[in-house]
Symmetry: C2
Subunit: 307 residues, 2 copies
């Protein structure tokens, strides 16, 4: 992987660590998606358009950092990490559709259906979801990860993105528009809609890295708290961050009459709650050595980011 800084976090700063992992993920994502000229070209163009937009690559970076935290190999975890980013991207494409959140902007660019039309956008989401499972089941990818572990990864990802995870959260979110929610309802929606896949990203990294039971429990708890910290911060950013930084329509939650943490708890209490969740995440992996430093710093980065 020429020209990419592969040093672990201990030797470099977090922004450099994130930048180097993002570069690796971007390189692999494009290697794993059929070329734009592959038949039929429209769908491969739209898959690439949606993936290229970038974003933080938080989920695949979490898989990588989780695997690294227990001494896992960087190149082995990359295709699995990319499959998770494909699932995340598919969920954004479908979420942005007129029948769902009806968003025109995503990651600073027109959404998939704005560019390719609704029909192709629906199929692009379907294609990224399907392609993720194709990648997870290819023996030539992911080094010597044994078939049983691969099946565990597939099952974990299908569960986290299914009706008891991400899709379930989307359903609740759709049904909650224009309804008044209490903090418990809101937590449930977020735990399913966003938290489940973030937690699964950490768990999948742990599976690929060969985590023992105790390590797995600790990393799973880390992932759960991190998901919460992430979502509260997302709600705050929707209010506070101008469009040119967040890449999303500002106040879109308010426009869509969505319940958010700041709306229910206020900004100050929301920020405090996010900080507490990040603290708990870091506490869960307290016994880990310096290899888990990236995870620890990502936990605090999650609540300090500006987009």
């Amino acid at each position: 992987m020429k020209g990419i800084d592969e040093r672990p976090l201990n030797d470099i700063l977090l922004p450099d660590y994130l930048k180097s992992r993002q570069a690796l993920i971007n390189e692999w994502l494009f290697r794993l998606i059929p070329d734009e000229k592959a038949f039929p070209p429209t769908i491969h163009k739209s898959m690439r358009y949606s993936l290229i937009a970038g974003g933080k690559r938080l989920r695949p970076i979490l898989s990588i950092a989780s695997s690294e935290a227990i001494g896992g190999d960087l190149e082995t975890v990359l295709p699995f990490a990319c499959a998770i980013e494909m699932i995340h991207t598919y969920s954004l494409i479908h979420d942005d559709l007129p029948a769902m959140d009806n968003d025109d902007l995503r990651r600073g660019r027109p959404t998939c259906h704005k560019v390719f039309g609704e029909g192709i956008a629906i199929l692009t989401g379907d294609a990224l979801l399907t392609h993720a499972f194709s990648i997870l089941s290819r023996p030539e990818l992911g080094g010597d990860v044994d078939p049983s572990t691969r099946l565990k990864v597939i099952n974990e990802l299908a569960f986290a993105s299914g009706t008891e995870g991400m899709i379930g959260g989307q359903v609740l979110d759709l049904e909650a528009q224009n309804m008044s929610l209490d903090i418990e309802d809101l937590s449930t929606i977020h735990r399913l809609k966003t938290g489940a896949l973030i937690r699964a990203s950490v768990i999948i990294g742990a599976l690929i890295g060969g985590a023992k039971e105790k390590e797995m429990n600790a990393l799973s708890a880390f992932g759960q708290y991190l998901g919460l910290a992430f979502q509260i911060t997302d709600d705050i950013l929707d209010l506070e961050s101008p469009q040119e930084i967040s890449g999303k329509t500002q106040n879109s939650d308010i426009t869509n009459n969505k319940a958010t943490y700041p709306a229910i708890l206020g900004i100050k209490a929301s920020k405090k709650k996010a900080k507490e969740a990040a603290d708990k995440a870091v506490a869960a992996i307290e016994p880990f050595n310096h290899q888990a430093e990236a995870l620890r710093r990502i936990a605090y980065y999650t609540i300090c980011r500006d987009r």
Copy 2:
């Protein structure tokens, strides 16, 4: 499996064979989908609504018959067969959406988006697709099929339903509306949109049944010709079969300005082409013994059915 006739085809008539396998598939489909009361209920209700509508269950029956043709166990193949039916059902839900074919009727009942709204219909398709991969990766399902074979099944299904298969066909179909196609374009669309999943159903049954290389090649060829026979017949039925029998809006292809076999070749030549494809399918499995009798009769049933 109480009360269900599990005798192989040789001892019973094809309609009884199909009926008994459909009953088994329906029983298993509902065992494999979370209960209607499971949280969040809306999505499990809509998944069940779309699956219960019935249909011929051709794809899962093909998996079962393909496995039986080489001596495979009936109960082992059932969860894999059901996963294929879930993928087929998801594709119908998304295909029926206003942004795609905009169909109000499917299998004689209002389509998913007509009952649950577009947002939930999109998520229901996503959920069935995701759930299929969840089922394929569960070690407690599918008897003692080894992890490597499971991964092959997942890869085969992801490929057949991806951009080089079913989704690719949907894209071409969407782009072909209001365009004039020649017979070669039409064959490509059908081979991808319908043929790939039908062929994969046969191949997956063969994988689960433990096919040797020669058997796999023969069954793969059978699946390919059968897919063609099926699709030509579907086009003919869209023209000839009244709505109360087909369960679909009659002449929907004409309304949508779609190219079809009868439109390009005429009815008579289309029927001849379907018959030739069925003959070739049967010829491909000529060396198989009496256990392949179900596959042979299904090939001819495919071109004689009325819906």
